[in-house]
Symmetry: C2
Subunit: 459 residues, 2 copies
């Protein structure tokens, strides 16, 4: 990364001095992903000039790798011929990704300079539902016929493979384009030239449906570790492939989304980096849940108001409310985060509900007892004896400690159960996480606390 | 997944009826990853029998894919010949992964039946620091010499490639084994048979150092989308490769770890699934932070005790403490989770600290004002007027609302800054997240609240 800033300075200095040959040498061997990193940092007036000096193929790949706003900037500056050439070189799935984020007037210009057949494919891909396998797949794959020989397959790959996203997994389709097998280039390399494809192909092919959610797509990849997965329509005809790099992007997106949901942020739709996202869009993402949670904590206020007279009789009890609610919240989110992660990795399902309850019951009893005992000792030793606070009587310490034990148990049970129930009801379990569960646990912990206090103090 | 349970029943029934031919047909075309899924669910007495009926190669791959405890169970039942045969088929990096988790007596038996050269490699790999590139790499790669022709390269791949983890990226080394280039099988397929490797190889090779942290390894993969990355020692000699599937495993582990840290769970060392992990190990993972956070909330108790006389003068103020602290905590963790995610994706660095502060300052002012205004209205309309609570005066509503505004601003600044500072100091920013920041924000929000109350009520 340090290196990157040096490179950017080098590029900017060469652009200023108009040392174009120097720039060409500098970028000739560079990875397009790194070129994209540089482009993002260049000033608008430098960007187009720099882009025009790039080798043609690297230019298209770098173009596919920069953010939407940089792409728009470039397209605005492109001549028609340049736009046509870039659209020619782009992989169709990258073109679709790009078009999905562009303003309509830019999209019209892009489609105008896209070859007719590619335009048709783009439109087909755009028709798949958002977040479906169809929307992330590409149509640039190698297909083979079962009656080809290995020699013919190699010839076919050489003839058609240059522009394919991957050639390493080739799919075998019958005359109706039904997917009937796959052959890896490794299989081909180790086979005899005269072997028939139908004899060496694997017929047990893991496949995705076009409408499959992209989260399932990502899970299938990390489960099987394939380089590519075929996508088929309802009639089992091969319509596209998803490659592992697209799956890695999906995993990254989904993870970010999960983190955001668990932090009570409305998931963002674009993948603009933090520093380039507008303050207002962060505001919109964050205020929704903040507002909701603030209003829902009206319940806690009501409960405390309801016990106001009891509290004024033993005001020291208020001092331990935050600790109790905090401990409950932490205990609950430990359970919920663990279970949410298990659900998304497929380790836990609805049928495991009672196993989870039983496990969390035992964990929480251990945790609760340990915390309760330590708290009892601490309140007597530190608050009562060391700090000499006469209000912290053994009875008060007992009320607080028992409340901790029960709160931790309740919190962990709620945290363990709610995500599973949510998942079963088709609600995203991550939304159930920390903030939402915390609100429920807050209410329950106060009721437990005041319950114990009422009984023990007779107030 | 539904399908899996049917398969398991089919397998168990066939085992019971001793229909071994049926089992062989059933598993012949099955993916080893799926076979592993079945094995995990089998009873101990079924497991070994089932394993022995598998085709040899699939057996080794399935063996590499089951959890450590199932592996131990199998190894205990293996004859010496079976153990030797499995160790023969295993990829070295899978063997190392396995050995790292085994009890010492099992490791001794494994190493005894491992071929001498493999044993040496295993020991070398075990010597790399935990979580380094060296510890996740494999030594099974294809290397080429620069003066080979494409024809010779193909011959070399055919001769040595069967047992390699990937043949699709071949690395070119000079006579001192220094890494000087790479050639993909795609390049080879599209080149002329008589071309020299040195003429077609790419010389700008992204490489990893053996000591590089595996998090960086994963980041490099998702950045460049390579199938494999070469690992070099200090003298730039090629010593191994990491393949994308290992990188995906690392990403999964790191993500789980981040989730755990943010939920105040001590990250687990093993990857045993939830339902098979012992209650006591969950207890150990969770109690540490729960205890720490409980004890640290002594500060909030002390602050509240300190303001006890003021509180008893205006007891209604206690009713809004949980709401205030909750809102502060949520606002803070929104910022911290966003920034932690940006740090781990490399979108934000230390030099961006002031940009982050400026951005969070604006976001939090907007959020704070919106929340404060709504709260002021709600307290007057609902609490004061609708519920007819005479204690909720406009002054009280003003104190609470102003505290919300300031608490949200402070919380978001703390949440945005702390992870960046932690990262700079070499502390894991995820540890800084929700629970830790919440504790700081709790203390600050109480001080703000009581500060406003003292000034406005003169108590």
């Amino acid at each position: 990364m340090e290196n990157l800033w040096e490179l950017i300075e080098q590029v900017q200095s060469a652009l200023k001095r108009r040392q174009f040959q120097e720039l060409k040498t500098l970028t000739a061997e560079m990875n397009p992903v790194d070129i994209a990193e540089i482009m993002v940092e260049l000033r608008p007036e430098e960007l187009l000039l720099f882009f025009r000096l790039l080798p043609k193929e690297a230019a298209a790949e770098a173009f596919a790798n920069v953010d939407g706003d940089v792409q728009v900037e470039l397209i605005k500056g492109f001549t028609d011929a340049e736009l046509r050439s870039v659209m020619d070189e782009l992989f169709v799935d990258d073109a679709v990704d790009m078009i999905e984020e562009m303003p309509a007037n830019v999209v019209r210009r892009i489609l105008k300079y896209t070859p007719a057949d590619v335009r048709q494919t783009i439109n087909e891909l755009l028709a798949y539902p958002k977040d479906s396998a169809g929307s992330v797949m590409t149509v640039e794959y190698v297909d083979l016929k079962p009656d080809m020989t290995v020699r013919q397959a190699f010839a076919h790959i050489r003839k058609t493979g240059v522009d394919k996203e991957t050639i390493y997994t080739c799919y075998v389709v019958d005359s109706n384009r039904k997917l009937i097998g796959l052959v890896s280039v490794k299989d081909l390399l180790f086979a005899d030239y005269e072997d028939k494809i139908s004899d060496i192909m694997e017929t047990n092919v893991v496949r995705l449906d076009t409408l499959e959610d992209k989260e399932i797509v990502a899970q299938t990849f990390s489960h099987y570790n394939f380089i590519a997965l075929p996508v088929v329509d309802k009639e089992d005809r091969l319509v596209g492939i998803v490659t592992f790099d697209d799956a890695m992007d999906v995993i990254e997106e989904e993870t970010t989304e999960d983190f955001e949901k668990m932090a009570a942020i409305v998931a963002s739709d674009t993948d603009t980096p933090y520093l380039r996202t507008a303050v207002t869009s962060f505001f919109k993402q964050r205020i929704v849940w903040l507002m909701l949670l603030m209003v829902s904590s009206t319940f806690t206020s009501l409960i405390i108001s309801g016990f106001e007279s009891s509290l004024s009789a033993c005001i020291i009890l208020t001092a331990f409310i935050p600790m109790l609610m905090g401990t409950g919240g932490n205990a609950g989110s430990q359970a919920s985060v663990t279970i949410i992660r298990c659900l998304s990795l497929g380790e836990v399902e609805f049928k495991d509900l009672f196993k989870v309850i039983w496990k969390e019951l035992r964990i929480s009893t251990l945790c609760g007892l340990a915390l309760g005992i330590v708290n009892f000792g601490k309140m007597l030793l530190v608050d009562h004896w060391l700090m000499n606070n006469p209000e912290v009587t053994p009875i008060v310490a007992m009320i607080v400690s028992l409340s901790i034990v029960l709160t931790v148990v309740v919190a962990k049970l709620v945290g363990g159960m709610l995500p599973i129930l949510a998942d079963r009801l088709g609600i995203d379990p991550a939304v159930m996480a920390s903030p939402f569960i915390t609100t429920i646990v807050d209410v329950l912990s106060l009721l437990i606390y005041f319950g114990f206090a009422s009984v023990a103090l007779g107030i």
